[in-house]
Each structure stands twice: as C-alpha cells, then as structure tokens.
C-alpha cells in the first residue's frame, strides 16, 4: 500500500498511509471508531477508489487490476450484509458461482466452509431466520468459499457471544498459518490475542506498526514505582535522588500514618535493590513496592488520543 489516501469532500478519512503485509501474517488493524479502518479496507478490496496512492497485491495495482485482485481476496464487510431472503445454501452457491466454483468443486468447498465455520444444521435455513452469530459465520463462509490467499475481515467478531468469539478467533488463527489475514477491530483485547502484528490507525494516519512486543518496547516508557513506607522523614525522602541517580522522585502522600512514594525509573536500569538498601540505611520499613509498566491498552489510549510515531 503506497501513499494511500481518501477524502470524502473536505474530510480526509485516510491520509497517505503506507504498509506492507506478507503471506502467512495475521495483521490487526486497530483504531477507534471513525479512525479510517473501514475506508482503508474498502480501498484494498476495490469498493472505493483512493483519492491518492494505490494498493498492490502481488505487483498488481488495484486501480488497473481490480478484477484479478478481487479473485484472490475474501472480504467480510463491516455489518456483514447478506441476502436475508436466501437460504444459506443458495447464498453460498450464488457467491461460489460468481467465483466460478461449480458442481463437484462447489460441493467440496461447501463441505469445507460448513465444517470450518460450524454451519452444520443451518445450511438449508433461510438467512433471515439465523441468529446473529450464525449470520456472522455465514458471512465468513462466503469469504472463504473460494479458499482465497488473502482474507480481509472488517470487525469479524462484532456482535458475537464470548464462546463464538473464541471459536472465530481460533478459526482466524488457523487460517493465518497459510493465508494473509488483515482484520480490523476497535477492541484492543481482541486484536492482541488473535494477530501477529498490530497496525494502529488514528484520524486516518498510522500511528504505530509492529508486533505486540515491538509496540511494548517502543511505547512502554518508564516504570512507575509506588512504595509504601513507614517512618520515612521528609529529609530522607528528599535524599533519594542524590543517593540513587537512576530514580526520579515524583511525589509523596501520607496514608494511614505511612508514606506513599511515587518514583519513576527507566526499564533498563532497575534500582529496586538499591532502594531496599537505601530504605534500610534510612531506617524505613518497606510495607509494599509495586512497579507498574504501561500495557498495550495504555499505549493504544495514548496513541489514539495524542498521536504518535511508527514503531
């Protein structure tokens, strides 16, 4: 994807984004509602034409080769639109027919997706009579009927119950072993447990791109240490920074006759041992010591509120 952008009138929904995804990768496209996720996915699938830049799939440009690219893609659209008056069988046969999968080939493909998506028992049911969970599975089955190399799933677990979410997550992980899967979500926990790599988009721009670990190491920042101590004098507390240079004293507050100290230090330089010795020398009694590092949720919140830089 190079320099991809999309404007709706004066609104810049996607602003010159670039990224590359390889086979066998499960990539999560994460962002708050209105961040530009669906617009980007719609440009990748050819539903929308970019205002600037383009999308390449195996060196084919979506602007010139949409038809060829669409053959390779399975796309589950946001809100999962389906022809409700059709039976599940008829709908899947319709999609397969357009994808030129007919006769024996269709029977085999149908058996595969019914098994993968757990559709046994509803194949001959009218879609409008299916539950939301089944409708989501029917949508997924239709995206996989032609066994595509690329799966693009826009909010695939929205509206599912916890058990169904676990099942669909397992299915996506399984598919991601062989295929390229790009799934979007605004739910961090969902993305975190399913994908290999996370791309965070905010206000149409990519603000972070990397694996879980890469994002943590790049955006986690310093460790915040909360210490509860007894018998600490103001003088001794103010000496911490000079005694242990790697520690930054933030503030202190009294609590039940004790002191709560808020300290900060770099993750590479853990000073807790020195702090313990300092406390002994200063005749403090340490009641608790709790380090807190930023988790992915903190990172996501900070990036999607204030913006950030690529990992």
């Amino acid at each position: 994807m190079t320099d991809l952008s999309k404007n709706f009138g004066s609104l810049e929904a996607v602003k010159s984004i670039d990224f590359e995804i390889n086979d066998g990768e499960i990539v999560g496209f994460l962002g708050v509602n209105g961040a530009g996720k669906t617009t980007t996915l719609r440009m990748i699938t050819g539903f929308l034409v970019p205002t600037g830049g383009t999308v390449y799939v195996d060196d084919l440009n979506i602007l010139d080769h949409a038809y060829e690219i669409q053959k390779q893609i399975g796309y589950l659209a946001e809100l999962n639109p389906l022809y409700s008056e059709m039976s599940v069988y008829d709908f899947l046969e319709f999609i397969a027919d357009i994808r030129k999968i007919r006769g024996k080939q269709f029977k085999e493909a149908l058996a595969r997706v019914v098994e993968q998506c757990g559709l046994k028992g509803v194949v001959h049911r009218t879609i409008s009579n299916c539950s939301k969970g089944f409708r989501q599975r029917i949508g997924l089955a239709s995206t996989m009927i032609h066994d595509p190399d690329i799966l693009i799933l826009d909010e695939p677990v929205t509206g599912l119950d916890p058990n169904q979410i676990v099942e669909i997550r397992g299915l996506i992980k399984e598919l991601g072993k062989e295929k390229l899967v790009l799934m979007s979500s605004h739910i961090l926990q969902e993305i975190q447990v399913t994908v290999d790599r996370i791309i965070i988009i905010h206000e149409g721009e990519i603000v972070a791109d990397g694996t879980n670990e890469e994002l943590m190491s790049n955006f986690m920042g310093n460790v915040h240490l909360t210490m509860e101590v007894k018998d600490a004098t103001i003088d001794s507390v103010s000496n911490i920074e000079s005694a242990i240079p790697s520690v930054k004293f933030l503030n202190s507050e009294p609590k039940n006759g004790h002191q709560i100290l808020h300290l900060e230090y770099s993750r590479e330089d853990d000073p807790r041992e020195e702090l313990f010795k300092f406390a002994v020398d200063s005749k403090w009694i340490i009641l608790s010591m709790n380090p807190h590092t930023a988790n992915l949720e903190d990172i996501f919140r900070s990036l999607t509120v204030t913006g950030g830089a690529n990992a």
């Binding site: 050819g46 038809y67 659209a77 639109p81 994808r99």
Partner: protein
C-alpha cells in the same frame, strides 16, 4: 455471460421468494382485464387495440414499481458491497438485474394472452399480424421502461424515491409526443423521435421498421450505460 445468468437467477428467485412478484402480476392482470373487458364487448371489434392502449398506461406505474428495488435495495441493505467486491463487472451486474425485471414484465404481458385467446374464440377475422406486432411493441416499451427503472434505482438507496423518479422519467418519455404543440417547430421532429408512443404506434400498426428497433435498443443501452456509470461513480465519491 455466466455472471449475468447468476445475477438474473438470484433476482428472479428474490422476486418469487417474496409476495412481490405475485402481487404485481395479479394487480397487473386485474387492471388490464378490467379496462379491456369493460369495453371489448361494446365496441364489437375483433382486435386487442384497447388492451394495447391500456398496457402502456399501466406500465407507467407497474414498471417503476418492479424495478425500484433492483439496485436501491442492494444499496440500502449494504449487499452492494458484496457484489462490487466480487470478481464481476458492473455491466454484468446491471444487465442481470435488468433482465430479471424485464422477465417479470414479460410474465405480466403473458398473463394478458388470456384476452387474446378469448378474442380467437369469440371474434371473427382476427388480424394475427397486428396482434403479434402489438405484443412485440409492448415488450419493447417494457424493456425501455425497465432500463429507466433500473437507472433510477441506481441513483438512490431509497426505493420510494427510485419509484417516484422512475414514474417521472417514464412519464416524460410517454408524454413527449403529446407535448409537440408546445415546443418550437424546429425541435418537434426530434422530440417526436424521442417519444416512445411514436415508435410504439408504428409497431402496433404492424410495421416493424429498423428505426423503431434502433430507437428502443438505444434507449435500453443508454439507460443501462448510465446505470453502470452511476454504480462506478459510487467508488469515486
């Protein structure tokens, strides 16, 4: 070609899986039957001219109603996103949809054959040529109106708006040759040529002229082309 058939069959099934097709066909048959039989035995003539005069008027509302949901419905439910991201061209999609609506119109027309059978039994000196060319003309005008309905259905996601726009455009084509008095004489020939009634009256007389066929083919082609462009434009909005 295969994709056109796939879209066509899906659409036909959608018509007949809901009460819509049955309601349209029954209402179409009742209205035409009522107005035809009301006067048929009074004028004492062995022809279907009355029927051929009524059907184009019924078409004005019937065809926009048949076609209003073709594409507007897909846009409203979001299924247009499924279709436009499948390996199928917009032309195949539009032609498949149009053919489905046209088929329903032909079925409606086929239901009026009962009047023809009545005529064969009770009439004398039946002019079969005029009757066949009359039906042929009605099929052509049905195709033209269906293409207009397909187009108006593509420019909105609201089926009621699509219906109203369809009735309006179809009415413009229907009334064109009745407005000739109000247009400058230099334009009257052109306006008359654009009128469906002018071409239909030629065919109904039993004269199947290539100019008339070209006219109907052009109207269908033009509006289907506009429909394809209208779907394409959505991607660029």
């Amino acid at each position: 070609m295969r994709n056109i058939k796939t879209i066509f069959l899906r659409e036909i099934r959608a018509y007949f899986n809901s009460p819509m097709a049955y309601i349209f066909l029954v209402i179409f048959a009742i209205i035409n039957g009522y107005f035809f039989t009301n006067t048929f035995f009074l004028i004492n003539q062995s022809d279907l001219r009355i029927l051929f005069g009524i059907i184009p008027i019924v078409y004005l509302f019937f065809i926009p109603a048949v076609s209003m949901g073709l594409i507007a419905g897909e846009q409203n439910t979001g299924t247009i996103e499924i279709i436009t991201t499948l390996p199928i061209t917009n032309s195949e999609f539009v032609i498949g949809k149009f053919l489905a609506a046209f088929t329903l119109i032909l079925l409606g027309l086929a239901a009026t054959v009962v009047h023809f059978i009545t005529l064969v039994y009770v009439g004398t000196n039946v002019d079969y040529g005029a009757i066949f060319s009359g039906y042929f003309g009605l099929a052509l005008i049905g195709a033209a109106y269906a293409s207009i309905g397909t187009f108006t259905s593509s420019i909105t996601e609201n089926q009621v708006v699509a219906f109203i726009l369809g009735v309006f455009v179809v009415l413009v084509f229907y009334l064109m040759d009745k407005m000739l008095l109000f247009v400058p004489s230099g334009l009257s020939g052109f306006i008359q040529y654009l009128s469906v009634e002018y071409h239909l009256s030629n065919i109904s007389r039993g004269v199947i002229d290539s100019r008339n066929l070209i006219y109907f083919a052009s109207v269908v082609g033009f509006f289907l082309f506009l429909t394809v462009q209208s779907i394409e434009v959505r991607k660029w909005r």
